[in-house]
């Protein structure tokens, strides 16, 4: 083992280090699959380097190699032959060696790491020749990923960066991996998760929303380590990344399950019903068509209490799943949906029951382009099981279509946008052209439609800006027209002079 002197890794260095690995894989595998290979390797490197770091610290204390290797000095066990330094020695069948090391580490840490490395095809030499794997291993060997060099949330941010990069690179509508962080931040502020609460994301992707929750509680200077984070993710590779991601962010009390939330919800209570949570944050995949509607029609968990969603869009299946997953006393959720859930006709009966349940606290309409590769405007629906008395029987509609900024084709919410929305939500009162409180009777009178423009009127597009005074507009046009006429005369006389010169 070589002790390396600590060298703080900047975010920029980390990013080019991570991206450099992707460059090595370019052309060999599909960009969408990079993450399946890069994340596990980084994670393995991190485990080895942290182990060495712990070993060195223990050696300082005990002055004895053997004692320094005792399990109590280490967060994770690394069996013989599975350390990064062992991998560097492999020259042939590198993939087999790698896979064996990963499995050995998973088995040696049965409470924390089973399945964390995912199911990449490490041994497929057509995909990953020995030379490529050796290059990757050598590339990752160029930095020491100890906690001293790279505190937990910084490595976590590096992961986030890579997730975002892959979202850009493989042309997925990256929602699968990535929800706009500024929006997640706003959703977290609206739900105010508290220390010790349980937080759940039924379609957690790489775990970004869960991490954002922990980060927010931490930012507020509260105890965040006792948050209990739960997530389920359909894609196996993505769920493995979510687990690593949470580890790397220093979140230890979390459970990420792999599987289909609709047909096999992973978290159940003692009676076999859906487990309930204090906070649910979700960005379900939009209007998916490939879902098991027959099974949902006879859902043993009773998650079709409002009705059976059409085959063409599972939105209301997720909606009902989330409603069922809320703690009856403390539960509240923020769900990111397409606008259609507010008014589509084939979901009218389910929407009516949703409204009558009085779970809906707020319907927030957002500006365009808050997703990668999709200009679609989104809505956030806030549900709350126990509304304060003054909010019972009422829904707040917020039209925040213009509270959005754009840079390089990417939209985001500035601090000021978030504050304005948050103030409106907390104030729960009418604000001209921005927010309207409607009673359930008023919603019923509109045929239970929740379409925002039905309630909040007169929102001008941001490009139209402030109310335009017609008198002023007319005066400026007159001036502009006169100036333009004079300028045309100038051009003509110049051309004449030139022609006769």
């Amino acid at each position: 083992m070589t002790a390396t002197s600590p060298k703080r890794i900047t975010q920029l260095e980390l990013e080019s280090y991570l991206w450099g690995a992707a460059v090595l894989l370019r052309g060999l595998i599909d960009a969408g699959d990079y993450k399946q290979y890069i994340f596990p390797l980084v994670f393995l490197k991190r485990l080895s380097d942290v182990y060495d770091e712990e070993h060195a610290a223990a050696l300082e204390v005990y002055g004895d190699e053997e004692l320094a290797d005792l399990p109590e000095n280490h967060r994770f066990a690394i069996p013989d032959g599975a350390h990064w330094s062992d991998l560097r020695k492999a020259t042939s069948n590198v993939g087999t060696t790698l896979k064996a090391a990963m499995r050995a580490i998973e088995s040696a840490n049965p409470d924390t790491l089973p399945g964390v490395f995912g199911d990449g095809e490490w041994t497929n030499k057509d995909l990953l020749p020995d030379a490529t794997l050796s290059d990757l291993i050598e590339h990752f060997s160029t930095k020491t990923l100890s906690v001293a060099n790279l505190p937990e949330d910084e490595l976590g941010q590096g992961y986030e960066y890579l997730i975002k990069k892959f979202a850009d690179d493989s042309g997925h509508t990256a929602q699968e991996f990535y929800t706009n962080r500024t929006l997640v931040h706003l959703m977290t502020l609206m739900l105010e998760p508290q220390p010790g609460e349980s937080v759940y994301d039924p379609t957690c992707g790489t775990g970004g929303m869960l991490i954002s929750t922990a980060a927010e509680v931490k930012r507020q200077g509260k105890e965040w380590r006792n948050l209990r984070l739960y997530g389920q993710e359909l894609n196996y590779g993505t769920s493995a990344i979510a687990r690593m991601n949470l580890f790397l962010h220093g979140v230890t009390d979390s459970r990420i399950a792999h599987g289909d939330t609709l047909s096999k919800p992973a978290f159940l209570n003692a009676q076999g019903g859906p487990q309930t949570f204090d906070v649910v944050l979700a960005n379900p995949p939009y209007s998916i068509k490939a879902w098991n509607r027959e099974v949902f029609a006879k859902d043993p968990y009773g998650r079709n209490m409002w009705g059976l969603p059409p085959q063409g869009r599972a939105d209301y299946a997720f909606f009902q799943h989330i409603a069922k997953s809320l703690d009856p006393v403390t539960g509240r959720s923020a769900i990111l949906f397409p606008h259609g859930v507010l008014f589509r006709r084939d979901e009218a009966a389910m929407r009516e029951r949703l409204v009558k349940s009085d779970l809906v606290e707020c319907v927030l309409g957002l500006g365009e382009g808050l997703f990668y590769n999709s200009p679609m405007p989104a809505v956030v629906v806030i549900l709350r099981t126990q509304k304060p008395v003054e909010r019972q029987g009422k829904v707040l509609f917020i039209n925040a279509l213009n509270e959005v900024s754009r840079e390089q084709g990417q939209a985001f919410l500035r601090e000021t946008h978030q504050q304005k929305i948050l103030d409106a939500y907390r104030g729960f009162t009418d604000l001209k052209q921005f927010a309207t409180v409607a009673t359930l009777d008023e919603v019923a009178a509109k045929g239970f439609s929740l379409a925002i423009p039905t309630y909040v009127g007169g929102v001008m597009d941001s490009s139209e800006g402030e109310q335009i005074d017609i008198g002023e507009a007319l005066a400026s046009w007159r001036t502009a027209a006169q100036n333009s006429d004079v300028a045309v005369v100038d051009v003509l006389s110049l051309m004449r002079r030139e022609a006769s010169a």
């Binding site: 900047t10 975010q11 920029l12 990013e15 080019s16 960066y161 509508t173 939009y286 209007s287 397409p338 606008h339 259609g340 008014f343 589509r344 006709r345 309409g365 365009e368 997703f371 590769n373 999709s374 200009p375 679609m376 405007p377 279509l401 840079e407 390089q408 052209q433 379409a451 925002i452 423009p453 039905t454 909040v456 009127g457 007169g458 929102v459 001008m460 597009d461 139209e464 109310q467 335009i468 005074d469 017609i470 008198g471 002023e472 507009a473 007319l474 400026s476 046009w477 502009a480 027209a481 100036n483 333009s484 004079v486 300028a487 045309v488 100038d490 051009v491 110049l494 051309m495 030139e498």
Partner: protein, 391 residues
């Protein structure tokens, strides 16, 4: 000031009750019609159509079978946020995703008033909010037909339509004026440059202490409080906006000290889009540039920065740059090639008088564009006043 509209006699109507969705099916090949309109031909935010496809010459999709006639209102129902509403002056065919609309009854709704109902921001906000689908959001006929608005009596429709169409005619005149000025300027520039001897190379005019260079190769992530980085895309609209620049860290900027920019530098794009130029203004002092831009710092004794940027933007030089670029994955212009590009040698007097005359054109075009802006703003104000917000 306002129009002081008295809306007491106005009636709340639903689009469905006053508008017909015209579905006049024809076969493109055998219809004898000459033109078709696809989404890209229909402009965003203004009513007049200036481009079209020609049936039998341009590729036309299989779903093009809807016939429209002059004066019909066309509304593109895909990607409603693009706000595409237009009124053709000719007949032709459009695709299934474009609604062809006409009034049900001229005694209730004037056809010439209809385009403005659908141009109001209130309508667009409704359309965007009621769109379905994620990647390619669209509005179906049912949702469109359910739109409610207040309809003025016929005589008021007539006077409002007259006013709004007058604005549209002025806007078109200003657009024509701008393009005529642009054409005149191009002719004048060509002639002025032909009078010069082209015996200089770009490297001859570059200051010795600020050599030709390109910018930051690896800018890293955007940081909140960093050094502004000018990129090719910032030059797309003519000139960048300081507040919209991406920022790089101070460390990265320090690594690329060589390419920091100052007032009087000229930037030239050399990757992807070749030959876009911009004369750096004082408020960008100390910013840096991206790899796809080259910095040219002219020696004012030999050539003024304004003159250089004018020459570089001329047709003659931009064609030369474009031709000199090589294509790998993206078009790239090597610095050595840029350094060797021919420039005219011009006395200080010639430079000054040329720039003075050029200012006449620049002013005229700017005024034309200001007029267009002013008209659009006036129109938006009128539409907001006429159609207002929902209750």
């Amino acid at each position: 000031m306002s129009l002081n509209l008295d809306k007491t006699a106005w009636k709340r109507v639903t689009l469905r009750d006053v508008v017909r969705h015209v579905t006049d099916r024809v076969d493109a090949e055998t219809s004898g019609l000459e033109r078709f309109l696809a989404g890209e031909h229909i402009p965003s935010g203004n009513l007049s159509i200036s481009a079209w496809g020609v049936i039998g010459r341009d590729p036309i999709g299989p779903m093009f079978y809807k016939r429209f006639r002059p004066g019909h209102v066309l509304y593109v129902s895909r990607r409603t946020y693009l706000r595409k509403v237009a009124v053709p002056e000719f007949e032709g065919i459009t695709g299934e995703k474009t609604f062809v609309l006409e009034t049900l009854d001229e005694k209730v709704l004037l056809q010439e008033f209809l385009p403005f109902v659908l141009s109001a921001e209130r309508f667009h906000a409704y359309a965007i909010a009621h769109s379905r689908g994620s990647v390619n959001p669209y509005l179906n006929w049912g949702e469109l037909a359910a739109y409610e608005f207040d309809l003025p009596p016929l005589d008021e429709q007539q006077s409002l339509a007259n006013l709004l169409w007058a604005i549209e005619r002025h806007r078109l005149a200003a657009v024509k004026s701008d393009s005529a000025e642009a054409a005149a300027q191009a002719v004048w520039t060509r002639e002025a440059l032909e009078k010069c001897d082209w015996d200089l190379r770009l490297q001859d005019v570059v200051r010795a202490d600020r050599p030709l260079c390109y910018g930051v190769v690896q800018p890293g992530v955007n940081v909140e409080e960093g050094v502004g980085l000018v990129r090719v895309m910032d030059l797309e609209s003519g000139s960048p906006t300081l507040s919209q620049l991406k920022s790089i860290t101070v460390e990265v900027d320090r690594q690329y000290r060589r390419s920091r920019i100052a007032a009087g530098d000229v930037l030239v794009s050399i990757v992807g889009t070749i030959g876009r130029t911009w004369l750096v203004t004082a408020d960008f002092e100390g910013c840096n540039i991206a790899r796809a831009l080259a910095r040219v710092s002219p020696d004012p004794e030999i050539m003024s920065a304004e003159f250089l940027s004018w020459v570089l933007a001329s047709e003659r030089v931009s064609v030369a740059l474009e031709t000199a670029a090589f294509e790998s994955a993206r078009k790239t212009l090597n610095l050595s090639v840029l350094a060797g590009i021919s420039l005219p040698s011009a006395s200080a007097d010639f430079q000054a008088s040329t720039l003075e005359r050029r200012a006449t054109f620049t002013a005229a075009r700017e005024h034309a564009r200001n007029e267009i802006e002013a008209l659009l703003s006036l129109r938006a104000g009128l539409l907001a006043e006429i159609f207002g917000g929902a209750e």
